[in-house]
Subunit: 211 residues, 2 copies
């Protein structure tokens, strides 16, 4: 896994998250929570593979596990990407606005930086949604002894999805191009809807099983 | 912060979580997600303290931050406690059951181990609920520029609360003492209800502000 943020000890990551420094922030933390959701899915897959009782789904569960591994690594990278996207935004806010030319220049640079800072959390959402679909498959086919971990995984993924969406909305709200902002918000809203349905279905199934 | 689990690099923690080894599992991961929620609250507090605009709430916000720090550390410790509570459970499952005496002995040891394995996630829930109350205060009094991080924090805490509850239910379900199991489940249910109300209120407030 390649991630500067997550190469820190978790205690150090928590300390960095607690500080007033802009990164890591809610976006990067959402990617990390999504990675935990993917990891819990991998645990369930690993507890299923090699068991006689689940031999008939083994090939499929291995495939799910390898997809989850790829998404987990992608989300680890996205914790860094989210931090990187903040830099141009911070630079744009610092540009002078003394003359009309400077104000126009600043507005243009800021608009682009806001767009780029919205695209990363949208990509986090997209990746987390794929993780949720794989957790759905594990809720149906994975080992019953690990069903609670499917539940914890879908809860984390749901929180990661909506957490990332907040980082879309704070940026689009400041954009001047209302059409583009509405498009980005529409993408986020579509994924929130899909994610909530998946969460309800998978979490409901887990509760039915363990309560 | 003292935590063997969270002294790992986050990438290593994710790898350990992904494995078929019983710990870290969903309980420890829930404590870690709760710690991230506390850390996000601390960030909001740190972005509030020292700002002229928020001078009149500064003393209160500093107090909130220090409580969050204590709960963050407590949750880091609880990731280890959760792992430790699994050991007696694992040993109990491995006891022989060849004679009636052995079966009786095993049932008694298992019952106690299940109880102890339920108490740790209940303590995670209790701590996370305190974090949620502090995030509620920050949603009202913290810096507006960090309002989305209050939202991400309450989402993580909500997922941590319900994730830990699943680890109560899987253990109480196996207990023979139905009265004790019902008491533990009742505690978990009460905290889930409180937590859902807090989450709805705080998250709703955040959405009202940023959308």
């Amino acid at each position: 896994m390649i991630s500067l943020m997550l190469e820190m000890k978790t205690t150090e990551f928590l300390e960095a998250l607690s500080s007033s420094e802009p990164v890591p922030g809610g976006g990067g933390a959402s990617a990390a929570a999504g990675a935990m959701g993917a990891a819990l899915g991998m645990m369930v897959a690993n507890l299923t593979v090699g068991k006689k009782k689940y031999a008939d789904v083994e090939a499929e569960v291995i495939e799910v596990r390898e997809k989850l591994r790829a998404y987990r690594e992608r989300l680890a990278e996205l914790t860094d990407r989210d931090a990187e996207a903040f830099e141009p935004l911070s630079r744009a806010y610092g540009l002078p606005k003394d003359t009309p030319e400077q104000r126009e220049e600043k507005a243009g640079v800021l608009e682009q930086a806001l767009y780029e800072a919205s695209v990363v959390p949208l990509e986090i959402m997209e990746t987390v949604l794929r993780v949720m679909e794989l957790l759905e498959a594990l809720g149906e086919k994975g080992s019953r002894i690990a069903i609670s971990d499917v539940g914890v995984g879908i809860l984390f993924a749901g929180a990661a999805l909506e957490g990332a969406s907040l980082n879309v909305f704070i940026n689009t709200k400041l954009m001047k191009d209302e059409k583009r902002a509405a498009e980005l918000n529409g993408e986020a809203d579509r994924m929130i809807r899909e994610g909530r349905l998946l969460k309800e279905k998978v979490y409901g199934g887990v509760l039915d099983h363990i309560r």
